[in-house]
């Protein structure tokens, strides 16, 4: 259980890192936190010929606001999100989710950009990005482009990043007033891969009627799963036990495709999805008016 041999590069600038990726393409993988890549290499599930270690690119480690968006550098350690007051103020959803990501030791190394680029359907950050309708910036030697969350995740461990691109920045929009959020997941041990998880974002108008809802699920398919129909069904309605139950039933039976695993059958995952949806929607609705 040791990695196979590879050539190791540790570029000192973003420009140098991008030049290496442009030259070697799919032969080279970026090493950021390494909390997903190195286990895979230890198992020899992946055997990259080259690693481009980007941990020296400190300019990609930042948390700031720009206009109506929270901007996170790709190299920002997940642990920093737990500690930064700006995160708690700006995105309660992100602040609530981060303690569920693996364990403190993993969060000390794992990065925001790495988690999103790795696109594990059981990871929390892709779900949050999709729930918040965020976007990511990809850069290469030929330029830079923004990718919306809903066009970023294709399937298992696959995003729209091209072979010469590096994810360098993440943008999360500020949520409108009267918006409540909630993140819930169920895992056998706190920090393990969750059997099911959901992020809920709801906006209510002055009369308590929902004007916008987004339900996104974790470990519920080959990528973060947005339950578009269940979310739309809540639009124009008050969040009552009845409308919440209907959304939960629709999402868990029609809009997710859990694959099952050692700890949970697909049927159990669907059951959990329904339960968590109800709890998350109730919480989000309470918080929208708080």
């Amino acid at each position: 259980m040791k990695p196979s041999p590879f050539t190791y590069h540790a570029p000192e600038t973003l420009k140098a890192a991008l030049a290496l990726k442009a030259e070697y393409g799919d032969e080279a993988k970026f090493l950021a936190g390494g909390q997903s890549l190195i286990p895979a290499m230890n198992f020899r599930a992946t055997q990259p010929e080259r690693l481009i270690d980007v941990n020296g690119l400190r300019e990609l480690d930042f948390v700031k606001t720009e206009g109506a968006e929270l901007r996170l550098g790709a190299l920002t350690r997940v642990r920093r999100l737990e500690r930064e007051r700006l995160i708690k103020q700006w995105s309660p959803l992100l602040a609530e989710t981060v303690p569920h990501i693996a364990h403190p030791q993993i969060r000390n190394r794992g990065t925001v950009g790495g988690s999103l680029a790795h696109a594990d359907p059981a990871a929390e950050l892709p779900v949050i990005l999709l729930a918040l309708n965020g976007r990511v910036r990809a850069q290469s030697t030929s330029g830079s482009r923004w990718l919306n969350a809903d066009e970023f995740f294709i399937t298992l461990f696959t995003t729209t990043l091209q072979a010469d691109e590096m994810l360098v920045e993440v943008a999360l929009p500020q949520l409108p007033a009267r918006t409540g959020t909630a993140f819930l997941e169920v895992a056998r041990r706190h920090g393990d891969y969750a059997m099911m998880g959901v992020a809920a974002v709801v906006t209510l108008n002055e009369s308590g009627v929902c004007t916008s809802a987004r339900l996104v699920y974790l470990n519920a398919g080959d990528k973060p799963m947005y339950a578009a129909q269940a979310s739309a069904a809540l639009n124009g309605h008050a969040l009552t036990e009845a409308s919440i139950a209907e959304a939960a039933s629709l999402a868990s039976s029609q809009e997710i495709e859990p694959m099952g695993n050692l700890h949970a059958s697909p049927a159990f995952q669907r059951h959990l999805a329904a339960v968590l949806t109800k709890r998350a929607l109730r919480l989000a609705a309470e918080r929208a008016v708080a």
Binding site: P5, N42, F43
Partner: protein, 158 residues
Amino acid sequence: MTELHSLKFTVNSQTYEKQVEARLLLSDFLRHELGLSGTHVGCEHGVCGACTILFDGEPVRSCLMLAVQANGHELHTVESLGTPNKLHPLQEAFWEKHGLQCGYCTPGILMTLKAFLRENPTPTEAEVREALSGNLCRCTGYQNIVDAAMLAAEKLKA
């Protein structure tokens, strides 16, 4: 592929300069190159916590880092905590509360707790359990580990 990389970093306040293969894991480097066998290897994929060390003061999985990544950084392993004649308060607490049996998970737990108690000197039992969620123990059932952690918090405050 057997290209060697030069490293210079400190472990337990001692500076080392070594040449290593890129694929050498930090856990293996500490154990085999430096002879610091206190850091244990349990799973090599980041779930058991036996390999936890402090990297620039923060607990990390040494099995999920390459030795080359430690270049220029400050590492602390369990050997830095104390000596048989002068145990660290954490080690004393584990002794007094029988917080270990085979001891395999213990170094990782001690290093995790060292950082945790520095950040949260007056934890509740629930907070200790959450802090230790990334460390697995097959022997003790965790109760004595938690008791030892709470006792260590008391000792460190005094």
